[in-house]
Symmetry: C2
Subunit: 176 residues, 2 copies
C-alpha cells in the first residue's frame, strides 16, 4: 500500500477548476469569526467542487494571511462573494432555486443521517457564528434545518468540522 | 424553527460520558503537529462517543492551553493515552481485535464512500502529520487504507476536517 506522491494525485489546476462541473451546493457563512475556520472551509469547498462560498456579515474575506494559513491557495480556485446581509442573500438564493438549509440545533430539525437529497435540487448550506450559531431570523427564513446529531458533553462541533461533515454527507448522497 | 438553548440539548456530563456505551472506534494521531487540530479532534470524538484517542510520537498531550482552545473541555470526557511508537500501538490494537485503517492516499486505498462497515467489527482510524501524512511504515502495517475522494486543486483536507468526515461516515454507517 504505497503512499501516492502529490504528483500522482492528478489534481486540477485553477483554470480547470473554474471550468469543471460543480457539485450543486453553495456554502453560506453567517458571521463566522475565526479566520482559521474560514480558510479551512475554502479547502473543503475546493475538495468537493462546491459552487460558491458566500461570506456574510462579520465574516472576513480573502486575501488575509490567517485565512491563507488553512486555505493554502483554495481561495484562488473556489468562487466566493461577500454579502453584508445574510437574509437578503437567502431570499436571492431561494429565488434562483436553491433549497436553503441552516445547520443548527432547532425545533423540527432533520437529523443529517435521516436527510435525503434529490438530485434535481441544489442546496445552500448555512453555517453560523462560533458562539451564537446561525441567527434566529436566518434559521426562521430557511427552507429547513439540518442537525448533526451529537451525543457527548459538548454543545457543538467546530465550524470547519461541521462544514466538512455536512458537505461530505450531501456529496456522498448526491453521488451514491 | 426555534433554535434550542444549550440547556435543551440534554448533553451528558463527564461522569455519564465515562459510563455510556461507546462507538466501536478509536482514533490514532500519528505525529500530528497542530494543537488546534488535536483539540478539535477531541471535540469531534466527544460528539460521537469515540472510545479513545491515542496521541502518538510528536503529537502533544493535554493539558495545553492551545489544545483547550478548540477542545473546550472535551479532554475531560474523551479517554486518551500517549504512545511514543505508532507501529507498536498498531500491533497491540490488532491483537485485541481492532481493524486498523490508515486515512491516506495510497495504492489500493478504498474510497470512503465505497467502504462498508461490519457491526461486529471495531475500528482504529489512523490520521497523520499535516505535511507528511501517515508514515509509510504505519500505512504498510495497517489492515487497509481509507481515502477521502477529493476533486479540486489541493492535495489534502485539514486533519481535523478529515477526522470529522471519516468518523461521521463510519458512525452513520454503523448506526444505519
Amino acid at each position: 500500500m504505497r503512499k501516492l506522491e502529490n504528483s500522482e494525485l492528478d489534481r486540477l489546476n485553477v483554470d480547470e477548476f473554474k471550468q469543471v462541473e460543480k457539485t450543486p451546493i453553495c456554502i453560506v457563512l453567517d458571521n463566522v469569526r475565526s479566520l482559521n475556520n474560514i480558510g479551512s472551509v475554502f479547502r473543503t469547498a475546493d475538495a468537493f467542487l462546491i459552487e460558491k462560498i458566500y461570506l456574510c456579515g462579520i465574516t472576513a474575506t480573502p486575501p488575509h494571511k490567517d485565512i491563507h494559513k488553512t486555505a493554502l491557495g483554495a481561495t484562488d480556485s473556489v468562487a466566493w462573494e461577500y454579502r453584508e446581509n445574510t437574509l437578503e442573500l437567502l431570499e436571492e438564493l431561494k429565488h434562483v432555486g436553491y433549497i436553503s438549509l441552516s445547520v443548527e440545533q432547532a425545533e423540527n430539525a432533520v437529523m443529517l443521517n435521516d436527510f435525503e437529497v434529490d438530485n434535481n435540487d441544489k442546496y445552500a448550506l448555512i453555517f453560523g457564528n462560533e458562539v451564537k450559531g446561525v441567527s434566529q431570523d436566518v434559521v426562521s427564513n430557511s427552507d429547513g434545518v439540518l442537525e448533526i446529531p451529537q451525543y457527548g458533553t459538548k454543545h457543538s462541533l467546530n465550524i470547519s468540522v461541521s462544514v466538512g461533515i455536512v458537505v461530505w454527507d450531501l456529496w456522498a448522497k448526491l453521488k451514491g
